[in-house]
């Protein structure tokens, strides 16, 4: 009996990576999964993003999110391929589920899980900052509002330096 887990992998490829190469990459990943016992859940192209720090001399990279179910063999095959690929400059896999028999997975449920765990990182709206900004606006509209300490965040950062 094959035991498996669901995973999500972030794959970053070189910025000069061609679009048709994505299909090749995807094909290879699917091949690894088909041969060793696994199921693809979702592949999402996050597009080209600026890296927070340079990797292998690159300042930008193409991000892909890949959700899948895999046996240990299957996962090592996926990782082996990603390590060997000269187009992949970084990848990271996160375990999402406990180990269970491959047949015991509720694929629809796993797809939903992956869906829920796929916020778009291009969306730069910070919910906390938005909330503070809205409160500040309300206070500005209403001049006699209480003196809330919402200018604290950036000042506090200095304390830790």
């Amino acid at each position: 009996m094959i035991m498996a887990r669901s995973y999500e992998t972030i794959i970053i490829t070189r910025p000069d990576y061609e679009t048709d190469s994505v299909e090749k990459l995807h094909e290879r990943l699917l091949k690894a999964i088909d041969e060793k016992g696994g199921v693809e859940l979702k592949l999402v192209d996050w597009g080209r993003r600026k890296l927070a720090y340079p990797i292998s001399g690159h300042r930008k990279g193409n991000y892909y999110y890949w959700g899948f179910i895999a046996s240990p063999d299957c996962l090592s095959e996926v990782h082996r391929f990603l390590k060997l690929s000269s187009d992949v400059i970084r990848f990271q896999t996160i375990t999402l589920s406990d180990a269970k028999p491959l047949g015991a997975f509720d694929i629809v449920k796993e797809k939903e899980r992956v869906e829920a765990l796929t916020p778009d990182p291009q969306d730069d709206e910070d919910p906390i900052r938005r909330d503070r900004r809205d409160r500040r606006r309300r206070r500005d509209d209403d001049e006699d509002g209480d003196d809330d300490d919402d200018n604290d965040d950036d000042d506090d950062d200095q304390e830790d330096a």
């Binding site: 970053i12 900052r129 830790d160």
Partner: protein, 81 residues
């Protein structure tokens, strides 16, 4: 008991933003939200300053660590624009 100046210096006691708003989900894939909890130098703000509870601070640390690995967040801001 803590000296009085600490309270004034760090402001009044804050509530954990993640306990206050259950819809806020800590995830390494939302760097825009995580950035709220790191300093200009890219370090995680201590919870005595941010007011984040111990359990959520652990989740935050894990998320920041993961975000750094895939360059969604910096390890350190120094020397990087």
């Amino acid at each position: 008991m803590r000296p009085e100046f600490r309270r004034r210096r760090f402001g009044r006691r804050k509530v954990c933003p993640f306990c206050a708003d259950k819809t806020l989900y800590i995830d390494y894939k939302t760097p825009s939200m995580l950035k709220r909890f790191i300093t200009e130098r890219g370090r995680i703000v201590p919870r005595r300053i941010s007011g984040v509870c111990a359990a959520h601070q652990r989740q935050l640390q894990e998320a920041v660590k993961r975000a750094r690995m895939v360059a969604l967040m910096p390890f350190s801001m120094s020397g990087i624009d």
